[in-house]
């Protein structure tokens, strides 16, 4: 084989290798996408009820004969110094009976000393009690009266009970405690009222949260285990599955009118509901896809969550305590990601583009060869290093120097504008002299002076109008809450990360655009700036837009800076002085602990998918813009 043939074969091989690599990369991207989508999308499956088996003549399980009492203790009590188990044994005509068991660790001896059991009987003010239950925080009893009253009692060991004033709630026939014992369902004909506890000036009060409207009067309502779902059987042999906090039923099954009435519904392990009929028949129903599924509304719409006193968008996944409603609102996370990227670009874009224009077009090549690698060295800092430095050095100083920073931000453009006004005509008349290699050296002291002056102005204003602490003044007088970890801090750190990316690409685009148009324009007497704007910018614009987009992608995908500096607070505020929580940081925090296949896990993958689509869209836009410019100016940069 001749050398020539050999090389041709090698060339062909190389070409095929490169082609196949790009195909592999595309496949990997598609694979990532499919993996994320297939993990996330089961989240939106529709629940379904179906009949699994029917048995006739089964004895209904015996219900213990304590008169409509709840025999639950105050959940698994946390290892408090003083723990108390509250039990209610019964109630009649406005009097509740029960006992309170306290145990205490005494002194340095850590073995639990069993405390006394105190039994109590409280005469409540209520005319009659239809239902009583303990609540999740222990020590409290919730008392219901069917004529529409609710009363809360606090039982403690020294003085037997403290009763809170009764509050009005909707009239009802029956009460059902929801899992977690933080709220109750009041059954009233074809309506079910969801009542929960809210904190207020006078302590906990019961407030209607939501109303579930049924198609017909409910016969039996039963919790589906601890899953925050309940099943309603109505008079027309229809079963509906409801989710707590969601007014519309999630699934309905029509059993046909021929069957006799329902006596009792029991949750029987994962996915099965046993329905006992009055005539002794047992039907076993399967409920599919109701666990670990959500509606889109849960992710995007503001909700009145159980136990909250207002309608909010918040992110707080599965609680550790049983039966607590998980909160999966994407809005605070998306807002955190976008606002932090916005802060970063606001800070880094003017500087990066200004530097790119100067270094790429005006600066003497000899200087450029020094300054460009120096600036690009910034890109060598990994996000975690920037975050660590910002945490150690910047964070403690930021609150003190907010006024000075604002002064600097104001002073730089003001100085530049004033200089331009003063010197502009001279520069235009004798461009060669001023756009010289000495210009940067001249600008260094002027701009440093401007920075110093800005800082001085800031501290002067701070000292004379805001009592020396702008942040403290804002907090005290304007009610602005200021966090130690905040958007400004994140923005500053992120701008350090995005600055070299934007600078480097934009500078490269400007420097490598063809020189002929600018040279011609200069030769015809245009000023360097005019030549730049008309002769270079059109060619470089696509590259500059691409630089901007890549900077944006970097800011959106950055994880460590946000994880360490944002405070990870899922807030929806415009103030840059408050904490934020980004999608990427949330993924970093929560993915390791989310159980595979749980709704939390799926929601996180949906967030990852969203992040991917966001950066994908940004990159696509960058490509499209680039292509358009190329088309118009016929360059291939």
């Amino acid at each position: 084989m001749s050398v020539r043939n050999y090389r041709a074969v090698v060339d062909m091989g190389a070409e095929w290798f490169i082609r196949s690599t790009s195909v592999v990369i595309l496949l990997v991207i598609a694979g990532f996408f499919l993996q994320m989508a297939s993990t996330a999308l089961p989240l939106f499956k529709e629940p379904r009820i179906s009949l699994a088996e029917v048995e006739s003549a089964v004895a209904t399980p015996v219900v213990s004969e304590i008169p409509r009492a709840v025999r639950d203790t105050g959940s698994d009590s946390p290892p408090l110094l003083v723990t108390s188990d509250l039990s209610i044994t019964g109630f009649e005509d406005g009097i509740v009976h029960g006992f309170l068991r306290t145990s205490a660790h005494s002194g340095a001896d850590l073995s639990a000393a069993r405390g006394a059991v105190t039994s109590f009987s409280i005469a409540t003010g209520l005319p009659s009690i239809s239902y009583a239950s303990t609540i999740a925080n222990g020590g409290y009893v919730a008392l219901f009266s069917a004529d529409g009253f609710f009363q809360l009692g606090k039982i403690n060991e020294s003085d037997s009970a403290k009763l809170f004033p009764p509050v009005r709630i909707p009239r009802h026939d029956e009460v059902l405690s929801t899992p977690g014992k933080r709220s109750w369902l009041l059954l009233a004909g074809d309506k079910i009222h969801h009542v929960h506890l809210e904190a207020s000036e006078g302590g906990l009060i019961a407030v209607p949260l939501l109303e579930y409207r049924l198609d017909g009067p409910a016969l039996v309502v039963s919790n589906v285990g601890l899953t925050r779902h309940f099943v309603v059987a109505d008079g027309e042999s229809r079963f509906s599955l409801y989710k707590l906090g969601q007014a519309k039923s999630r699934a309905t099954y029509s059993a046909g009118a021929s069957l006799s009435q329902v006596e009792k519904i029991e949750w029987n392990g994962p996915g099965h509901v046993d329905v006992f009929r009055v005539n002794g028949a047992l039907e076993r129903y399967r409920i599919d896809n109701f666990l670990n599924t959500l509606d889109v509304g849960d992710l995007l719409l503001p909700k009145h969550y159980e136990g909250y006193s207002e309608v909010t968008n918040t992110w707080q996944p599965e609680g550790i305590a049983e039966g607590v409603e998980p909160k999966y609102s994407f809005l605070p996370l998306l807002w955190g990601t976008l606002s932090s990227a916005f802060f970063a670009l606001i800070l880094s874009l003017p500087v990066a583009l200004g530097a790119a224009v100067y270094v790429g077009y005006f600066m003497t090549p000899a200087y450029r060869e020094i300054i460009k690698p120096v600036i690009e060295m910034l890109a060598a800092f990994p996000g975690v290093v920037i975050a660590g430095l910002a945490m150690l050095w910047l964070a403690p100083r930021l609150q003190e120097f907010v006024a000075e920073l604002i002064g600097m931000f104001v002073m730089i453009p003001v100085t530049v504008s004033v200089l331009a006004m003063l010197l502009g005509s001279r520069v235009r008349s004798r461009p060669g002299r001023y756009f010289s290699r000495r210009l940067p050296l001249l600008l260094v002291p002027i701009l440093s002076g401007a920075l110093y002056g800005g800082a001085w102005l800031g501290s002067f204003v701070d000292a004379h109008f805001f009592g020396g602490s702008l942040v403290g003044w804002l907090a005290a007088n304007r009610g602005v809450s200021v966090s130690y970890f905040n958007g400004l801090l994140v923005g500053l750190a992120l701008s350090v990360a995005t600055f070299p990316v934007i600078f480097s690409l934009a500078e490269e685009a400007i420097f490598s655009s063809p020189n002929s148009a600018a040279a011609g324009s200069l030769a015809l007497g245009a000023s360097p700036w005019q030549s730049f704007v008309d002769g270079v910018l059109p060619y470089a614009a696509s590259g500059i837009v691409a630089a901007l987009m890549l900077g944006l992608s970097r800011a959106i995908g950055e994880t460590m800076i946000l994880l360490l500096l944002s405070g990870n607070m899922p807030l929806l505020t415009v103030s840059p002085l408050e904490g934020i929580r980004s999608v990427a940081a949330t993924l970093a925090i929560e993915l390791p602990e989310a159980a595979v296949g749980s709704s939390h896990f799926r929601v996180l993958f949906l967030a990852a998918l969203m992040l991917f689509l966001l950066t994908f869209a940004i990159n696509t836009i960058a490509q499209l813009v680039k292509r358009r410019w190329h088309h118009r100016y016929g360059v291939s940069a």
Binding site: T102, S106, G307, I320, A321, Y484
Partner: protein
């Protein structure tokens, strides 16, 4: 020619990938809680003095990382500041077919810390609920947002504090942390944290932030409290009697006291490895207990010794 270069390359790769060969070395891998990281590190160092062949590898993320690591058998010990959850047990059973062995090896308390400029000396659990909670199920009262709302005119306030106008900036751990869950269950009655509670990835970060922000308050493992911050006393009720305890010392009772666990996966009827058993015996020895107390924990060896007899016959 070409082929020889290739083989040389592969050889180099093999050399680079192969672990350093020491004949008898065994690696003990610990995965889990940040609270116990300093304790395990201190134990590990002392243990290495006696058993130089054993390499101690500690991976700190949070208690939630321990069960999966143990179930995958990539860790010898799961280090947890809370017991296994039900879901985690089920998951472990499904993968391994038996229950993990767990033991209480130490007890510690969470301390609530504030800045030195903060005049507050003590807080009740109810006040903590009003600071940290969104729903405030424990106290049932409105949120505290500024420091001047707390304890005005009470004895629990030092003279001359300068942060009274500051908004309260609560700090906590991320949800991976066992302390996050413990605080949530104990202080918030299982309710939600307020969205304004910052979630930081480590106790050291909380201590640093609290030492620098006069409005901050945070909860940390008592071993992390140092002179840069002030631990406030937590008030609790025993039989109607108001008592105050400084939660900074583990030897005094505190409402925020909890057990710390080591978990290991041992096949029923089988035994732990030599190194695992040696480590367990070491931490329950006098030397181990001294280190434990030195690090600000109190011993919990009563339960540990029983497990050790089972695991290491």
């Amino acid at each position: 020619m070409f082929r020889r270069r290739l083989s040389l390359l592969t050889l180099q790769c093999v050399f680079l990938l192969a672990p350093p060969a020491t004949a008898t070395s065994e690696v003990l891998t610990f995965v889990g809680s940040d609270t116990m990281s300093r304790l395990i590190t201190a134990w590990g160092e002392e243990f290495r003095q006696k058993f130089p062949d054993v390499v101690v590898d500690i991976q700190v993320t949070g208690s939630a990382a321990a069960p999966p690591a143990l179930a995958e058998r990539v860790a010898n010990f799961g280090v947890m500041s809370r017991p296994f959850g039900d879901g985690e047990l089920v998951d472990f059973m499904r993968r391994q077919g038996f229950m993990p062995e767990g033991m209480v090896v130490a007890r510690d308390s969470l301390a609530v810390i504030v800045n030195h400029q903060n005049p507050v000396l003590s807080l009740s659990l109810e006040q903590l609920d009003r600071i940290f909670s969104q729903g405030r199920l424990c106290s049932g009262l409105p949120s505290f947002t500024h420091w001047h709302q707390i304890g005005s005119g009470s004895l629990d306030i030092e003279e001359g504090g300068s942060n009274r106008d500051r908004p309260i900036a609560p700090l906590g751990r991320t949800a991976v942390s066992g302390s996050y869950g413990f605080f949530k269950n104990t202080v918030l009655c299982g309710g939600d944290f307020h969205p304004r509670v910052a979630e930081l990835p480590g106790f050291a970060a909380i201590v640093r932030a609290v030492s620098q922000d006069s409005g901050a308050i945070g909860y940390v493992g008592s071993g992390f409290v140092d002179s840069s911050v002030k631990a406030v006393a937590i008030e609790s009720r025993i039989d109607g009697l108001q008592t105050k305890n400084s939660s900074s010392s583990a030897s005094q009772p505190s409402p925020l006291k909890r057990d710390l666990y080591l978990y290991l996966a041992v096949v029923p009827g089988g035994a732990g490895s030599v190194a695992e058993c040696a480590f367990l015996r070491f931490i329950t020895s006098t030397a181990g207990r001294e280190i434990l107390i030195e690090q600000g924990f109190s011993p919990g060896e009563v339960e540990a010794s029983g497990v050790i007899e089972n695991v290491c016959p």
